[in-house]
């Protein structure tokens, strides 16, 4: 239960950063998605349920402050958190390059789910424009920002990795 509560608290911090600071670090109009990065990092570390719940909570906060359709961010980030959790054993979070690549892919997944639902709601924008103007720059920016976010969040993520070894050590004391 603790990882879920902890992930929601960290996502809340990411949301505050996203709402107040991220608009000021936009590059060429592209803003990174800190909530998505944190969600995916929690998915990689703790598995699908924690990733999905962290994504749901982050998506809800993001939609409440910025979304015209509250619910789209919930779906996309829940799915990203879940699938990040599925590959948790493949992504070794101590090697920063792999999470960067994984966040790049996670951003594409997030944006495609988001665009898919926007399309269902009648928001039709040419896919080429979306890919070149929004999805690709956001994915690159998110990937580049991942090491910094990871450095900040790492102290929380290490918690689970250390626990089993501590428990095992205590068992044999």
């Amino acid at each position: 239960m603790w990882p879920i509560i902890q992930s929601c608290l960290v996502v809340l911090g990411a949301f505050i950063l996203q709402a107040v600071l991220v608009p000021h670090i936009a590059l060429g109009g592209t803003k990174p998605d800190v909530i998505l990065i944190v969600t995916a990092l929690y998915g990689f570390t703790y598995g699908p349920p924690v990733g999905a719940i962290a994504g749901f909570f982050g998506g809800l906060l993001g939609d409440l402050v910025g979304g015209t359709h509250v619910g789209l961010g919930l779906v996309s980030k829940s799915i990203v958190g879940f699938f990040a959790g599925l590959v948790q054993r493949t992504i070794f979070v101590e090697n920063i390059l792999l999470p960067m690549v994984a966040i790049f892919i996670a951003t594409w997944l997030n944006e495609f789910v988001y665009v898919g639902f926007m399309f269902l709601l009648g928001e039709i924008t040419p896919i080429k424009v979306l890919m070149l103007q929004v999805i690709l720059p956001t994915a690159i920016y998110n990937a580049l920002l991942t090491p910094l976010v990871y450095l900040i969040v790492r102290r929380f993520l290490v918690f689970k990795q250390e626990t089993p070894s501590i428990n095992v050590a205590r068992k044999y004391e």
Partner: protein, 282 residues
């Protein structure tokens, strides 16, 4: 079978997606006083002071960066603006005469003076935090007389409409939001079209202008007043590019708005209550 293919995990995912769909549907169907809209206003009011503080703290840094990054461009722009000021001054003198003549004619035909609207000045304290929607947060809300759907002016032209207002702050959906659509007309020819935003592109797109139209660069685009969403004759922008696709029935017209939507600092909110929003009216 590995744990991550477990049924419980998928049940959690589908449960969350189901709840999201319920929230999406409720938000879509409920009115402005519905629970999700109220929650949005609550979050808006809670984050606004932080956004205002950070915006105030970072503005000098941003201004300095902009100055350094665009120094050459600013110098050139300054020269062009000085030329423009002299041209406009001479035009202004010419217009004084026309205005006086216009006044006389209005009185002559007993023309009912168009109703003027009051304005509320507001500062921008927050910018959009994601790449999909284009909106700003301003420091005036219900207590200052701001109401849902009021038009918002900046840089001498229409920039958006109030989409949400709490007691002290309001959210404004900008014209360059991909969802917005405003009925406009070409001032010179009277042709009516719809102006749309195109994500991060600074220019707006004017749709439904017939391929036979003689619209050209420099034409002024103003609100048409059709549909009652905005009062008519609000300046929207100037035609910057006209293209014609071989297969299209319409011309592709790009419109340069009077202000860069990513650098709006102050706005005027027109006290005009249309009762319809730009995102509903397209």
């Amino acid at each position: 079978m590995p744990e991550f293919f477990g049924r419980r995990n998928y049940l959690i995912l589908f449960g969350l997606i189901f709840i999201s769909m319920v929230i999406l549907t409720v938000h879509f169907r409920e009115g402005q006083d519905g629970p999700i809209h109220r929650a949005q206003r609550l979050v808006l009011a809670a984050t606004a002071p932080l956004q205002a503080a950070v915006t105030t703290a970072l503005t000098p840094v941003g201004d300095g960066w902009d100055y350094l990054a665009h120094f050459g461009e600013l110098k050139r722009e300054n020269k062009e603006l000085q030329k423009e000021v002299s041209a406009l001054k001479s035009e202004l003198f010419a217009r004084h005469g026309l205005e006086a003549e216009n006044d006389r004619l209005r009185k002559l035909i007993d023309f009912k003076q168009k109703q003027k609207y009051g304005t509320i000045a507001a500062n921008v304290i927050g910018m959009p935090e994601n790449n999909w929607w284009s909106s700003i947060i301003v420091d005036r809300g219900l207590s200052a007389g701001v109401k849902h759907n009021m038009p918002v002016i900046a840089g001498g032209g229409l920039v958006g409409q109030v989409s949400d207002a709490s007691s002290r702050v309001s959210k404004v959906v900008l014209l360059n939001d991909a969802q917005s659509g405003v009925s406009v007309q070409v001032q010179r020819t009277g042709e009516v079209g719809v102006i749309k935003g195109q994500l991060k592109d600074k220019r707006l797109v004017l749709q439904y202008i017939s391929r036979d139209s003689d619209i050209k660069n420099g034409d002024i685009i103003v609100t048409s007043g059709l549909g009652g969403i905005f009062p008519r004759d609000l300046y929207v922008g100037m035609v910057a590019k006209v293209r014609q696709s071989v297969y299209s029935l319409y011309k592709i017209v790009e419109v340069e708005p009077p202000i860069d939507f990513s650098h709006i600092e102050e706005v005027l909110i027109l006290q005009y209550d249309p009762g319809v929003s730009i995102t509903e009216g397209n």
